[in-house]
Amino acid sequence: MCSVRDTIEFEKRGIPSTTIITSAFKKAADFQFRGNGMEGHPYVVLPHPVSNLQPDEMRELTLRFVDEVASHLKI
């Protein structure tokens, strides 16, 4: 999907990048990374769905994944 493509494009330009997706799209993300020569590229998976979360619930859930995001962007 498009956010995965964006991460691929950043990496091609030498910019460390990760993607945040929801769990329903894990297979699609794996496929796109693999198909673009980036099999196993690290990305972050939020539990699906998120569209029904209120803003404060969304923030609270997101905060649980921040350290994982950081781990994909630094050594």
Partner: protein, 96 residues
Amino acid sequence: MANGLGFIDPSAGGAKETILLAPRPTDLSGKVVGLLDNTKEQADIILQTVGEALCERYGVETLIIRRKEHYSKPAATEIIDEMAGKVDVAIAGLGG
């Protein structure tokens, strides 16, 4: 694509040439983080939250947030080129 089969197999596939991971910094302190919002629902809240927390927890100095035209299209090359020129690391969301 002729082979011993007696017909053509037009199946696509085969891995593309491997793209090497861009070298990672040892830490994010003082860094510029790019956040690319694909306009999918909740992407803005998620990226804003991540960005702010990275500043708080990891000493990230600057956030650059850009929003794409619509969630299902890859970002205009211009947006990515622009961000790549300004950021140290980038986060794209929300995939799906």
